[in-house]
Symmetry: C2
Subunit: 224 residues, 2 copies
């Protein structure tokens, strides 16, 4: 549905792949904002709380940039986000972190997989949407923060490593479940998948994302 | 405790009233950010969610401005906030909204009472802290948003007015309980209360704040 009637707003409507990626990214940034802000409540120290709140505010600025781009293209931002609300909500509801460390691992693992996926797709977008998406995917400082905190926790109490490794595997499995759901929804991401090319190209993307995930888990001191 | 050893950082340490007000305001903005971002999850529409997230991001920018001012004064921001963490946390824990309308009323009532109080105290601060505090207290658009949504809900279903009026009374009562707690804590707000003058001056502040609260309740269509 998204963008189907956007011809009424703009003389040259953007292609469906652009609308879908921007819609997915916008809603992803909005939920990332919410999640970081909510996780900030679990912070063990006020310094951690401030650090998370700062990252959440940065995610909102990204959301704003993507929304502005949808406006510029004459696309209704809420229509563009609509197909992705259910799968992203389901993912977050099924992976509510039980504590501060789980929330850090989730943010680190989840945001990076999402960023890798968006980066793969972004290269197939026309300018200036491509440059905008790539700039929004810039790190907000979360990676270094999460790695430092999680490594310190594991070094203080090595027994948490097993629990966090299991948690990360559950996150990846839930993310794949929701990604498949998006993949079979004719309203969502159809344009994106057409833009990718064929199933071989999709498998290539998936393998690169999982290899990068494995390297990030090693950086955390966890087995993938 | 806050600021007691700040002489080591700055040659001319700011007075205790300034440190206390900035610390209270900084932690107040940080919790306002968290609360708005958390309440955004209860939003009935994605438009409401975006509106609340935008206000939360504005509160974080305010927090940042106050923190920068504490840095400029050579005051440890965490030490300055420390005395206000327990009472603000207790207030929010004892007044968790049950739904979207309660969260709107809480934000509207609570933020405005806090802003009135800060404004009364700010006039007693030296420049440029005074101007900074007054600019940070500028409305982030929450008032108009909350009034519009709450009035629409009451007009659609007049029975909610009684429940929300009771809720607002409970918020004021809890706020007063925590304010008294701050008032008797020798580490918190001592400087501020000295700055106010005497008990008569304090009673004057209190009366002006409650009168403004009554006018805001009427704007919502509720009895105070």
């Amino acid at each position: 549905m998204a963008g189907q009637d956007s011809g009424a707003v703009s003389a040259r409507p953007p292609d469906q792949a652009t609308v879908d990626l921007l819609g997915l990214l916008a809603y992803g940034e909005l939920t990332a904002f919410e999640r970081l802000a909510t996780d900030a409540r679990m912070s063990p120290t006020i310094g951690d709380k401030i650090a998370l709140a700062r990252m959440a505010a940065a995610e909102f600025a990204h959301f704003q940039a993507i929304s502005d781009e949808l406006d510029r293209l004459g696309v209704d931002r809420e229509l563009a986000m609509a197909p992705f609300i259910a799968p992203l909500t389901a993912f977050h509801n099924s992976t509510a972190p039980a504590d501060w460390l789980e929330s850090l691992v989730k943010a680190y693992v989840g945001d990076n997989i999402a960023a890798d996926f968006h980066r793969e797709i972004a290269t197939r977008l026309p300018s200036p949407s491509r440059e905008l998406v790539l700039s929004v995917l810039g790190d907000t400082g979360h990676a270094a923060f999460a790695v430092e905190r999680v490594r310190a926790a594991i070094s203080a109490n090595p027994i948490v490593a097993g629990r966090l490794a299991l948690w990360a595997r559950r996150l990846v499995s839930e993310a794949l479940t929701q990604a498949q759901r998006v993949g079979v929804d004719p309203d969502a991401l159809t344009g994106l998948l057409v833009g990718v090319g064929d199933l071989d190209a999709l498998a290539g993307i998936f393998n690169r994302i999982m290899a990068a995930h494995g390297r990030r888990m090693a950086a955390l001191g966890l087995s993938a």
